[in-house]
Symmetry: C2
Subunit: 417 residues, 2 copies
Amino acid sequence: MLMKEIFASRALRMKASEIRELLKLLDQPGILSFAGGIPDPALFPAKAFATAFEQALSRGQASQSLQYSVSEGYPPLKEWIVDRMARLGITCTPDNILITSGSQQALDYLGKLFLSPGDTALVTGPTYLGALAAFNAYEPRYDQLSLEGNRTAESYQKGADAADSRVKFAYLSADFANPTGLTVSAEARARLLDLAEDLGCAVIEDSAYQDLRYEGEPVAPILAMELAQKGSLEDCRTVYCGSFSKTLSPGLRVGWVVAAKPVIAQMVLIKQAADLHSATVNQMAVNTVARQIFDSHVETVRSAYKARRDAMLAALERHMPPGVQWTRPEGGMFVWLTLPGGVDSAELLARSLETVKVAFVPGQAFFSDGSGANTLRLSFSVLDETDIEEGIARLARLISDGLSANAATRQQAAQMV
Amino acid sequence: MLMKEIFASRALRMKASEIRELLKLLDQPGILSFAGGIPDPALFPAKAFATAFEQALSRGQASQSLQYSVSEGYPPLKEWIVDRMARLGITCTPDNILITSGSQQALDYLGKLFLSPGDTALVTGPTYLGALAAFNAYEPRYDQLSLEGNRTAESYQKGADAADSRVKFAYLSADFANPTGLTVSAEARARLLDLAEDLGCAVIEDSAYQDLRYEGEPVAPILAMELAQKGSLEDCRTVYCGSFSKTLSPGLRVGWVVAAKPVIAQMVLIKQAADLHSATVNQMAVNTVARQIFDSHVETVRSAYKARRDAMLAALERHMPPGVQWTRPEGGMFVWLTLPGGVDSAELLARSLETVKVAFVPGQAFFSDGSGANTLRLSFSVLDETDIEEGIARLARLISDGLSANAATRQQAAQMV
């Protein structure tokens, strides 16, 4: 192709995201889908947004809401975020905040800010595949971040040195991570901060799911822990990425970043050059709705998702055959399954869609090193409890049948030897 | 600084945009500003948008408008754009279109798509400074695009070869360009297409101001000309960037790109990784409003801006001293002034804000090579005719006084020799 010949190498590396391509196929009737990591639209505070947009587009405000605005973000919304962050132990000023078009955009800008080709990014295995997609554009080298403390700073450093590379950041979602649903303990967070200090790298804390806790005590954000240690946000290496997508609405594309001022100042320049600013009216509407109902609305969302998580964990317990393992998340939207070795979850998906009409996301795409073929992600955020029970029962039957067939084949093979 | 040490080199190159920093200072009372290249908010179709958002956020539609959506863009809006493009001589399908968050985002993505560090981008001198900011993130080499046909393909190629570089695209705004207001003739467009063919590079056609023509006959878009030559959009090298910012509203951040399918497919992946999609509800509202009132609203906008352009050209004629030159745009928002050599427009701005309280944008930032210190950009889109007359009269007085003072100094200097 004429044009493809002149694409930059980074562009040629980009591949279609398995999840997003999948989502396009899920409109088929009769499919029970655990695939999309999307909020239940029935929970959107639609009335509150209708009123907030009406207000922002009224005679007195339309000349502002429909006009260009500053790259930094809508000041009253930044003020609300300052208050919210303070409640999480992160004392900051509006100059420590940039409003982004969802936290996905923050990941793209952080890739642009930190990564030169070949630089090292530490990511967990598995990790959020949208983060890998965002970082891939900047052609990093990946190394696997261990949160169990069984790798020393020297081990990462040695790997980077051998590749003539430099570790620029560790990226993780510390609360109810996509895709595992797991939460990083306070001890592991403290170890990670020590590691970042030793490596001289940044920490990118993706807090997209932080508000969705259904049980247990909240763990302080990594940035809050670092701030408590160091006393000033300006000395902190952690960049906190927040989002309204999982609490109020993903379609409005409003998220934010909190970090030391030099990081924010640079990200403002990146945003100015990349899209000028996030849509003004959306920021105004989110500000209004957040001030009116954020806490009560999050309670509503939590209570709905908690019931679905409980239903999914109960159904897994009830139906899954021995040998299948899964996480027991304290919040978020996901449960992560590990199948007995040898079962390929991508093949399972093809069979599942064809026979039992259940969808999920094969796990391999969530690993920077291509491992994890026997893992898969289940989301419990959209289906009701009855459908969750039914879908898990069907999926469990399919897995059981596959395992028995495998066992029969193995037995047969053994007999033939 | 701790964090700055680990920024990527591309980030450290980014500098604050003169224009946007300036805009922050213009809230002072009493300033007559020709600086901001922004639409007049009094012309926003606020009522139509209020109704369109109300509809999109109604019970039946909120589950879609507040939800995640596909990276490609809202299908009905793409359909409207297909029709609109057809009227401009560009026959395309929805697969040739990507919805972006303003055309600024298209420029960022096109930089990401085409530019590796050191690749050559051809830009006019002056050019849109937001394009330079977007491309700068991908560390290109610039060469000056001449539209008068006084440079051969060999001359560009020789320059690129000498720098061990490859020409990836020519970027230009062909209609009422920011900052000059000038339109590229059909002959020059045809020459540019030949040049791109010889160089094997793309053409990026920034059409942000295309709808704002106040006199004369429209010139066919470069993409329409290329399509007429080649017969199929899939063989075309031109990437067309459109925007609703100058016609309906900039604050909603909705623009679009039209190009051959492999270009769009790649840009969809880039967008997916960078911000997932542009805000769903904004695309729905723009679709509704565009279908209802686009043509009639553009007429309203044109008639208002035409009167202001006429007022500015008349005031310049009336007040400017000999030696000052300016463009006579057939559309858009800008007039471009060239001051007699030796007058520095940045110094003039400082004096102007202090003494006559008139703002404009010094021209140097619009040149990739740092030239143009004696040029400046005036926007006529926001002030009414009386203020335009008053502002130009004041600015002309300041320039005249400066020129007389300079002449006196020169005379004095000559006498002292």
